[in-house]
C-alpha cells in the first residue's frame, strides 16, 4: 500500500516537474520576444493598452500579465493612468467666448483661398524666365571653352568635326547679342513684376470693398 502511494506521489511529482519545465520554456520564449527588442516593460504595456502591438506580442503580454506579478502590477498602474487620461475632460473658456469670437469675426471677411490668387501662369512665367536665363548663360559659357582640336582616331575626328568649340560662336555670341538677350530678360522680368503687383493691388481693392 505504502509502495503504491509512493509510486503515485512520484508520478505526480514528475508530472509537476514536467509542467514546471514547460512553463519555464514558455516564459523564456516569451522573454526572448522582448529581449530582442530591448524594450522596457512600460513601453510594451503601453503598446498593448493602446492596441498597437501585433497578435503575437499581444498573446505574449497577456500571458506575462497573468503569470508575472511585476507585469501585473505595472499593467494595473498604467491601465489606471490610461483611464484617468481618457476620462479627463477638456477645459472650457469663459461663457462669453463664442460671442466674443463672433463679434470679432464680424469685422473680418473670409480671405480668398491661396490657390485662387496664385496664378499658375505667373509661376510658369517665372520658371520660364529663370530657365531661359540659365540656358543663355550655359550656352555662352560653352562657347567660351576652347575644346582641343586634332587627333587621329575616328572618335576624335568625330569630336573634332562636331565640336561646338570649332563653330564660330563668336558670330552669334558677341557683345551685341548678349546685351540684347539680357535686355529681353530684364524686360520680361519687369513685365512679370508688374503683373504680380497689379494682381496684389486688385485683391486688396476687392477685400476692402
Amino acid at each position: 500500500m505504502k509502495y503504491v502511494n509512493y509510486k503515485a506521489n512520484r508520478q505526480r511529482g514528475s508530472e509537476m516537474l514536467k509542467r514546471t519545465e514547460l512553463y519555464d520554456t514558455n516564459i523564456n520564449s516569451i522573454k526572448n520576444v522582448f529581449m530582442d527588442k530591448q524594450d522596457s516593460i512600460d513601453e510594451r504595456l503601453w503598446d498593448y493598452i493602446d492596441g498597437l502591438c501585433s497578435n503575437e506580442e499581444k498573446s505574449a503580454i497577456e500571458q506575462l500579465i497573468e503569470s508575472n506579478i511585476e507585469w501585473q502590477k505595472k499593467y494595473r498602474d498604467l491601465l489606471q493612468l490610461n483611464e484617468l487620461l481618457t476620462s479627463a475632460e477638456l477645459e472650457a473658456p469663459s461663457m462669453r467666448f463664442t460671442r466674443n469670437v463672433i463679434e470679432e469675426i464680424a469685422k473680418h471677411q473670409v480671405a480668398p483661398a491661396a490657390r485662387q490668387y496664385i496664378d499658375k501662369k505667373i509661376i510658369w512665367g517665372i520658371g520660364t524666365f529663370f530657365l531661359t536665363l540659365i540656358a543663355g548663360f550655359l550656352i555662352y559659357a560653352l562657347a567660351q571653352i576652347h575644346f582641343a582640336a586634332g587627333g587621329n582616331s575616328p572618335a576624335e575626328d568625330l569630336i573634332t568635326k562636331y565640336n561646338p568649340g570649332n563653330l564660330s560662336w563668336g558670330k552669334y555670341f558677341n557683345n551685341t547679342y548678349v546685351n540684347i538677350f539680357l535686355l529681353i530678360n530684364v524686360v520680361l522680368g519687369l513685365v512679370m513684376l508688374d503683373m504680380i503687383i497689379t494682381r496684389k493691388k486688385k485683391l486688396a481693392r476687392q477685400q476692402g470693398a
Binding site: 489606471q80 479627463a88 469663459s94 467666448f97 469670437v101 473680418h108 490657390r115
Partner: protein, 195 residues
C-alpha cells in the same frame, strides 16, 4: 441652428456668406482649442485671447481648408503657430523648455499647484493639473492623443513627425506625467486605488 450639421457643411455655408453659422464651429471646438492653448500658457486670460485669435484666423483662412484632413487637425496647425508666436513674444523659447530657466519656471508652477492640492478633488482636475506641470510639448501630445482623439498618423502629420516618433514622444510624456502624479498626487492616487 447648426446642431446636426457636419463641420464641412458648416464650412461650406460660411463660405457662401452665412457668417453667423461659424458660431457652430466655435462652440464645437472652443474647449479643444482652449485646452491646447492653455497647455502652452499658464495664464487663463492669455489662453482665452490666443484661442479667440485662433478662431479669427481660422475664419479668415477658411477658404484654404481643403478638407483633406479633419477640421480639428487643420485647426491645430493654427493653434501651434499662434502659441509659438505668443511664446516668442514672451521671450520663452519652447525648444529650450528643458533648460535650467524653464525648469525653474516649471518647478514654480508645481509648487503653486501643490499649495492647492486640498482643493483638487475631482479626477479631471487632478489630471489637468498634472498635465499642466509637464512641458507644453508633452502636454500637447497627451491632449491630442486623449482629448482630441487624434491617431498617431494624424498627430505625425500635424507635428511634422513620423508616427513612430510620435509614439516614442507620447510614451515619454506619459512616463513623465506618471512621475508627476506620483510625486504630487500620491494621496489621491492611493484613494483611487482604494488603499
Amino acid at each position: 441652428m447648426h446642431v446636426g450639421l457636419t463641420d464641412r457643411e458648416i464650412i461650406s455655408r460660411v463660405l457662401k456668406g452665412e457668417q453667423q453659422i461659424f458660431a457652430g464651429l466655435v462652440s464645437r471646438y472652443q474647449n479643444y482649442v482652449f485646452t491646447l492653448v492653455h497647455r502652452f500658457t499658464s495664464n487663463r486670460e492669455d489662453a482665452e485671447e490666443i484661442s479667440q485669435d485662433v478662431f479669427v484666423k481660422a475664419y479668415r483662412s477658411l477658404a484654404d481648408f481643403r478638407g483633406e484632413s479633419k477640421f480639428s487637425t487643420w485647426l491645430y496647425t493654427i493653434v501651434r503657430t499662434n502659441c509659438i508666436t505668443f511664446l516668442r513674444k514672451k521671450k520663452l523659447d519652447i525648444s529650450s523648455i528643458d533648460s535650467e530657466k524653464a525648469a525653474s519656471q516649471l518647478e514654480n508652477r508645481e509648487s503653486s499647484f501643490s499649495a492647492n492640492l486640498v482643493e483638487q478633488k475631482s479626477r479631471t482636475k487632478m489630471v489637468n493639473e498634472a498635465i499642466k506641470m509637464l512641458s507644453p510639448n508633452d502636454g500637447q501630445i497627451i491632449t491630442l492623443f486623449y482629448s482630441a482623439e487624434q491617431s498617431l498618423q494624424e498627430m505625425g502629420r500635424i507635428l511634422g513627425m513620423e508616427p513612430n516618433t510620435v509614439k516614442v514622444k507620447l510614451h515619454r510624456a506619459r512616463q513623465r506625467l506618471k512621475e508627476k502624479m506620483e510625486k504630487n498626487f500620491a494621496d489621491e492616487i492611493r484613494e483611487l486605488q482604494g488603499e
